[in-house]
């Protein structure tokens, strides 16, 4: 063990320190943008899953099962390597020459994957709203669409803030997988530092610290949101 000389300076010496910070910024960007996609799509498919009309339920279930049962890495590679080919020979070359393609593919792939998980939480949220509430709203004359938009969805969203917090954290962790297609995020940078300095241990430890801080920040943020939108009288914990 002692044959290895630790070099913790690698973490803040230029250019390595800056690389890590750039990686952090990329992690945040990828995660946040993917989260927007995941949230919107997850809401959509989760609502479909909870629908009373079976074709809608089936579509929702299909989406969730497909995107949940395939590892994210495999999905990412599919979209990145095989995806452009789906558009035919001519478009394929155009797509592959977009600079920063890996960045866009990573965001979309991560969004699609996470949406399946969000959809499940949304469905659970709807399920935990008692049947009586649906009846009550409809009996005031609202249409189904109005009922969902004004009552059910806002209620369900508040209920699922804790599991959504977990998913938000998970999306930042899964963003690390994008390093495999060259996205210059935190984990990618720590690996790059190792390539240059052979001090991967220190670099990855530093990356761990970055993820820890990121995680704690996200939890704090979500706690603020939860407090602001809390349903009075509802015991969640």
């Amino acid at each position: 063990m002692l044959a290895y000389k630790f070099d913790w300076g690698v973490l803040w010496r230029q250019p390595y320190g800056e690389w890590l910070l750039q990686g952090l910024w990329m992690t945040i960007q990828v995660g946040a943008l993917a989260w927007v996609i995941a949230f919107i799509l997850g809401l959509l498919f989760g609502t479909l899953r909870a629908s009373t009309w079976w074709p809608l339920r089936f579509i929702g279930a299909l989406y969730v099962e497909v995107f949940r049962n395939i590892p994210f890495l495999v999905q990412l590679f599919f979209w990145f390597y095989a995806g452009p080919m789906l558009f035919g020979k001519t478009l394929q070359f155009k797509i592959n020459s977009i600079s920063g393609l890996h960045y866009y593919v990573a965001v979309v792939a991560l969004g699609l994957y996470t949406a399946s998980r969000v959809a499940e939480h949304v469905r659970a949220g709807f399920a935990s709203i008692g049947h009586g509430q649906y009846d009550a709203v409809l009996s005031t004359g609202m249409t189904h669409l109005q009922m969902y938009w004004y009552v059910i969805v806002p209620h369900a969203l508040r209920l699922i803030i804790p599991p959504l917090t977990t998913e938000f954290l998970t999306i930042f962790k899964n963003s690390a997988v994008a390093m495999t297609i060259g996205v210059a995020e935190t984990t990618f940078m720590s690996y790059k530092i190792d390539e240059q300095t052979f001090h991967g241990l220190e670099a990855t430890t530093g990356a761990m610290a970055i993820y820890l801080v990121l995680g704690m920040t996200v939890v704090k943020l979500m706690n603020l949101i939860e407090t602001k939108y809390r349903i009075p009288g509802l015991v969640t914990r």
Binding site: R68, N69, I70, F72, F78, M85, K173, M179, D194, L201
Partner: protein, 218 residues
């Protein structure tokens, strides 16, 4: 249509076997360590509870892929030899997945009434005997659906061993792809393969959930 897949089938399936082997190790180690972690998380002794809690909360904030790298970097330093990717990956997985299994076990332990534990103690069983014969078996049965779900996730996670060059399915697919450039076929194949296994697994888990809900025996 899947001709590139068929010509390389043995090679690809050999990689898949590696995923299965890695998952088997990860599950065996992860479940065992997870049971211990779960016990640690309900322990009343602060010198057990706090380190275990720290360990769990630490690892749950970090991407698995980073843990795989970290272990890959640390093991040669600890052992003084260069590291076999499979062993390095197996260690990463056991250490990482144990935190998730641990939380599942913990939830299971917390459903066991205090009096049941007292009943075991009052016949003279020690803590270790009570944990081994009562706590773990009951929690295992009660949490079986969650344990199966987590096992499926673990199996999916084995694909990440790609990053340290392990000759598992995804890496072999990329190798074949670089030669054949039949990306759609190849990546669809690996996706479908994982899908089928994991989908079956999730159905099994649902089956057990239904069964235990109906029986309400345990």
């Amino acid at each position: 249509m899947f001709d590139a897949v068929f010509t390389n089938l043995p090679y690809l399936l050999g990689g898949f076997l590696t995923n299965v082997q890695l998952a088997a190790f990860a599950l065996a180690g992860g479940l065992f360590l997870g049971a211990l972690v779960g016990l640690g998380r309900i322990s009343k002794r602060p010198w057990v509870y706090h380190p275990v809690t720290l360990y769990v909360n630490f690892l749950r904030n970090i991407p698995l892929i980073l843990v795989i790298f970290w272990v890959y970097f640390v093991m040669p330093i600890l052992t003084g030899r260069s590291m076999d990717p499979f062993i390095s990956a197996a260690v990463s997985f056991v250490v990482f997945e144990a935190t998730y299994f641990g939380e599942i076990f913990r939830a299971g332990f917390q459903t066991i009434s205090r009096d049941l534990v007292s009943a075991a103690y009052s016949t003279g069983l020690t803590y270790r005997q009570t944990a081994a014969h009562i706590l773990v078996p009951i929690a295992f049965r009660r949490m079986l659906p969650s344990l199966i779900t987590q096992s499926i996730i673990t199996f999916q996670d084995t694909s990440l061993a790609y990053v340290i060059g392990l000759q598992e399915m995804v890496r072999r697919t990329t190798i074949v792809d670089s030669i054949e450039v039949r990306s759609i076929q190849l990546y669809s194949f690996v996706a479908i393969l994982f899908f089928v296994i994991c989908f079956i697994g999730s159905r099994i888990s649902l089956h057990y959930e239904e069964k235990s809900r109906k029986a309400k025996v345990l």
